[in-house]
Symmetry: C2
Amino acid sequence: MNSKHLMIGDPCPPLINGKLRIYSMRFCPYAQRALLIAAAKKIPYDVVNINLRTKPEFIFEKNPGGKVPTLELAGDDEGCLYESLIVCDYMDDVYPCGASAGDGSCVDRLTAKSPLQKAKDRILIERFNAVTTLDNQALMLPPESSDAEIKELLQNLVDSLKPFEYELGMRGTRFFGGNEKPGMVDYMIWPWFERLPAHALLWGSNFDFQQAKSCLQQLNAWEEEMIKDPAVKESYLSPEVHHTYRLGKKRGSQDYDLLLHSKD
Amino acid sequence: MNSKHLMIGDPCPPLINGKLRIYSMRFCPYAQRALLIAAAKKIPYDVVNINLRTKPEFIFEKNPGGKVPTLELAGDDEGCLYESLIVCDYMDDVYPCGASAGDGSCVDRLTAKSPLQKAKDRILIERFNAVTTLDNQALMLPPESSDAEIKELLQNLVDSLKPFEYELGMRGTRFFGGNEKPGMVDYMIWPWFERLPAHALLWGSNFDFQQAKSCLQQLNAWEEEMIKDPAVKESYLSPEVHHTYRLGKKRGSQDYDLLLHSKD
């Protein structure tokens, strides 16, 4: 998962027999969605990391847009799939009981069975685009932004989370997917919760997300539960690490292999 | 389906017992997607048309974004759903055999059963966004656009359709959904095929879509078949009617009730 990000000129590593492959970028929240679902369902997979600034030629053979996540299928279902939500639904559909089915440790579907609940969950995931847009705006705010501009963006961000606070309260469960364990909605929105606290490291007290979200009690309790989830733990990175990567990205010199370098 | 478009101050008509309701706008391609699926599956529904310039207050109670299509559910599954793809998938999920199940005229699922085919179909629908973006650009081209600019856009539009031409050839079937009848992909992309020929009425020979798409043989044959489909016929409008509506839209004075006025 932390392997070197392959770039232009690099060959594509051979597929590993019987394993799904996820083309990823270690700091991409959309790619993380795919890693979370594969982990939650205990599907055997390998990761090929892609340098998104100087993409290796082979990624365009897998996905005409050259984006991550891209899923390369193993076995009878040869070929590639892309778009994070499509990839995640596919994994949930094709491994309905997880890869460990048969040994007694069957993992249930992450998608709701009822068509109505499934549709409501998909609407919720669509509505989360407001959060991802604001997260990106906060990242791209120019350094000369006024205190008022930064604080306004923080308030908009908290406001965009309120429908999720409300919905979790209405559902009355620990996770959006129920009491037992996270479901599709939980995993699709998680990557941004991992990253949102990093804004405070960039903007200081003007973007005190921790304080601003104190009104989001249900979501805060949810976040505490999510961070303990084994699938979340597998790909989790601290706000400090996200901050270091994002600082580079803001300067146009992001270090995709940051985690390898820090181990030098 | 051609009822008056309700506006600010108008009350919401009472639901009709046992019928789904589709909040629509007669010329909206996204709303048409929902009408197509309801028609294809013979689901009983009524339509409430919404004036999108001066929206009636009640639409925001149904959908916080106030957009169409919005689906209001009848019976046990009370509530509203929105986003065209989510609404269409819901109708396909909840009426797996159409509303006429039991009388021997069972309509099959419009969505592919195989998770792989379902994912590939969803990718195809996502890729169609390139076409809808270009259609909108062609509509919004300023009147002073040069011949070269108009022709370039036409070429881009034809290029954006080529993956669909290729895919239909690969599938070797009359419809994207198979040989027998249109499936989800067919209905999700159809509304734009109904509208694309209207550009020629606006731009004349500089936007001769009919001539430009002569290279898209599979798609042209598909279009001929689609136009004969009973579900398509139900909501079909001619390029001339789309042109009249779009001309108004370009001028900021679209006539939502055009079809009612033309019957005066």
